[in-house]
Assembly symmetry: D2
Homo-oligomer: 293 residues x 4
């Protein structure tokens, strides 16, 4: 039992010394701001850097863009999704590989009138910002293997629709796409033309979600587009109690009919953080496998 | 696709109306304070009440005492363990049954000199407080089925040792005990007699952990005690990377040799919240099953 | 290390003595034959009896009817589904409760011209046989708690359709229904009138599956029928690669729209024994929970 | 619903045509015999070949040697372990990679006096046979990436001890070792000198298990050996009700103290095929990850 008290002392040492040297061994999370010309605004983003990032200075890493949902921000996956803790555990056991994870801010409080959404909307070309400013800056700033095979995208709810739509229309850029409880389709009846005309931000978001419906994108695909979509690995994960369930099934069934391979899981749960947090335990090993294929 | 926009409107209604009536349908968490004469101090505690608690006013419930670890407080299982979210999901699918969950405060910052521990220590008779003041007050204040079969206890680390020791020495009171990453034994070499004499709080805690070793309690059990211990259902859950791993194995192996049925799981992980949070998905259905036997 | 060689000796003793006394402690499986007047034929069936069935002679048990698929027989769940082994493990840990499991024979080789199906078909009134001869005989022969709450039904493929249809149209008899990779609907275009007229057994089966479509039964339900269906607990479990996937989604979505609570899981896999075997690990604890509510 | 009947027709076509061309797309299992000079006997073995093995004629594959337990043969992992079915599912979803799996015969009925064991024993030099005849033949006969990184070994019970001992003493040959419910140690009291002298086959096996104890091999390791052992990835998987539990813990704790990274899982279960079958769902993805590192 001597071991135990030694273990306690060792742990105490760990917790108190916290030397610079030791800190470099650990994974870490940083938050930064980018000034966007496209948006005419500052945007925050959060980055997870794997253990030894500052030690193995020549090493390059695959990257996962991890998108938050409506009413959320770049902090969510870290504060409530605990993505750092999950990565630390999965990399320790080898179930996930070291990667860089990036969460941009595409939202904030709807009540406070923040812009929400990953699409180009009148007055807020977020998608243009993402592909011409944000992603290039990230992949220059960090040591990222900047190619299709080593770039994945994932997201929840609005971010599940965002990641799917990005991977559909930029299939040459992403090797894998993991959509959780995703908002994949908005029917015509969800578009309020009057509010759109008035520039209502939520109405503009719903109009874009209708225009860029991920379901219609598959249903309307000709063989060339299907072939393109088959170059991406797809995963759809949606709870059986989710209010967005039907759209997820429509998407998956369209993929099946188009013979575009796609994984589907329906687990117990609703549109909740418990669902998205646990999804990471499937998503992070899955994108890791795609990275190493 | 009409369904979707209706779903959005319905969700918006849910999120904005938040009427009193609706709130009563939901589970909720409250924090209170008890003035302890035994301790000569105020102690906080947090209570989870199941959905419809204020509607089904005649219904009584089983109770789970859920203990935090060293350096922690009654808030931890709620703030980082997300126990309310887990319960909401598990009760929705029927995997766990409605129960009342209670977390007392047995700690706080060690650095700031707070008392930590569930045992009676010189100057801080926490166990006496728990059994003569706290538990009786809780089971009077709330509609609890106050018998052995409907009373369970669980905890992490220091609280894993706490719950195990309580269930060992009060086997007539608890039907089930679920220990996570538990601190179950302190060897004699972990006792610092000088610091104990000086009243050092951590030294007193370690001395109590030595004196009340859960491992020795089983090893030294005569047949009468073994028979008593067999009236409780036991579950030990400890990560393969946990620094307390050896003590957990010693305990489990002592239980096997004493032929006291005990479940053991060793999952991937260390002494982390990811481990304890995921343990709830096993622990809460398991105590529910014991409640209904 | 003495323990190990003792363990080996103990195991050897267990394996060689196999005394009558000891055998009664174990669960067991028996196969029998019933002479059906309705069918004008003998039918086999297999029964799983829980541990101590012959010792606790006053005890009564809940019952699960477990249905095989097309081209299969009563032996399948035992030979390839390993249901005895799964039950032995789940009851040892308390995850499932002691129950009696019964598999009737509703099939055999299609190529050899055997009748397949759980429905009444011209010349083969299997459903009538099941409810007027088979089930009454079973519940008389064995010590079964013969009420709705303690009677569950489950099945795979053709048996998934069979169990669902039975629980729909005999909702007063079953407390729970768990459908795996279920054959829940046959469209009109699947009915070959000419072959039906000729008495082709497969054509008759498909005609019955069309006539008794589980999907249509929900879609066409009035409020009284919905209310009746809500008295049963439902679970649908279907692989993402299953060729029957669409019918399962149609059923689940019909249940959602009718507001009849139903669990859904879509796990990785196709129409395979790996899927059905692993489904038992969810199904058996789930029906156990329903039994104890 | 037209889809469904088309699906049935398509399935019927699949099941009936079974063209040579189609069969080559599927994984398959073959059994062969090798004439051993070392043993002076014929030995059977079973090989799993991945899908498209006969089509992609230039492709080479990693290999997993999968060892059966006492009283078993090369057929066990295929007949009861269903390893082909598990591989087919895991490779379809990408969780495991295409590999060749080989089961040699190191046993048979103890009652019938068959030799059992993976070790060199007086009169039966099985280990010599394995490394000088069997493995070289296999890796010549099949298109195997014949290097340490792409060669893994796994086994159950006696085969769990066998794979661990092989990977310990041939650490330059194996990249990964996954031991299930493993027989890792036999104490001196398990050696029956008289029966050993008489050439009793079980006594000789136990003597070898004592002499080559996997636990002692770690406990007695100097730094050079530890360094060597760290070049292999280790995984120990043992049920909480297994009669070999203590030996598994002794091994894991010796590995921890020697600071040789090793995964451990203790799941619910005993020394059963349900345990080993489900272990494949962890083992096969895990060795796949090691292969691609």
């Amino acid at each position: 039992m001597k071991r135990l008290s030694i273990a306690f002392v060792a742990m105490a040492l760990c917790l108190t010394t916290m030397a610079q040297n030791w800190r470099q061994m650990m994974s870490r999370v940083e938050e930064h701001t980018i000034q966007s010309e496209v948006l005419g605004a500052e945007r925050n983003y959060t980055v997870y850097l794997p253990a030894r990032y500052d030690i193995d200075k020549e090493k390059t890493y695959p990257v996962l863009y991890l998108l938050h949902g409506m009413d959320g921000t770049n902090k969510d996956w870290f504060d409530r999704g605990h993505v750092k803790d999950v990565m630390d555990q999965l990399t320790a056991s080898g179930e996930a590989d070291a990667m860089i994870i990036v969460s941009p801010d595409a939202g904030g409080s709807v009540r406070e009138g923040k812009w929400n959404g990953y699409f180009d909307m009148r007055g807020w070309n977020y998608e243009e910002f993402f592909f011409t400013e944000f992603l290039p800056m990230i992949e220059k700033e960090y040591r990222i293997k900047a190619d299709k095979q080593h770039r994945a995208i994932a997201g929840l709810s609005m971010g599940g629709g965002g990641c799917t739509s990005y991977a559909q229309r930029h299939a040459d850029m992403f090797g894998a796409c993991y959509a959780m409880s995703a908002f994949l389709h908005m029917g015509a009846e969800g578009v309020d033309a009057q509010k759109v005309a008035q520039g209502d931000k939520t109405a503009l978001l719903f109009e874009a979600a209708h225009r860029l419906s991920c379901v219609d994108y598959v249903k309307n695909a000709d063989e060339a587009r299907k072939q393109e979509l088959r170059t991406v690995k797809w995963f759809v994960d949606c709870g059986d109690d989710d209010f967005l369930f039907d759209g997820n099934m429509d998407f998956y069934q369209a993929m099946r009919r188009a013979q575009i391979p796609c994984q589907l899981r329906v687990r117990d749960g609703g549109h909740t953080w418990e669902y998205w947090h646990s999804a990471l335990y499937t998503a992070l090993p899955w994108v890791s496998r795609v990275f190493t294929k």
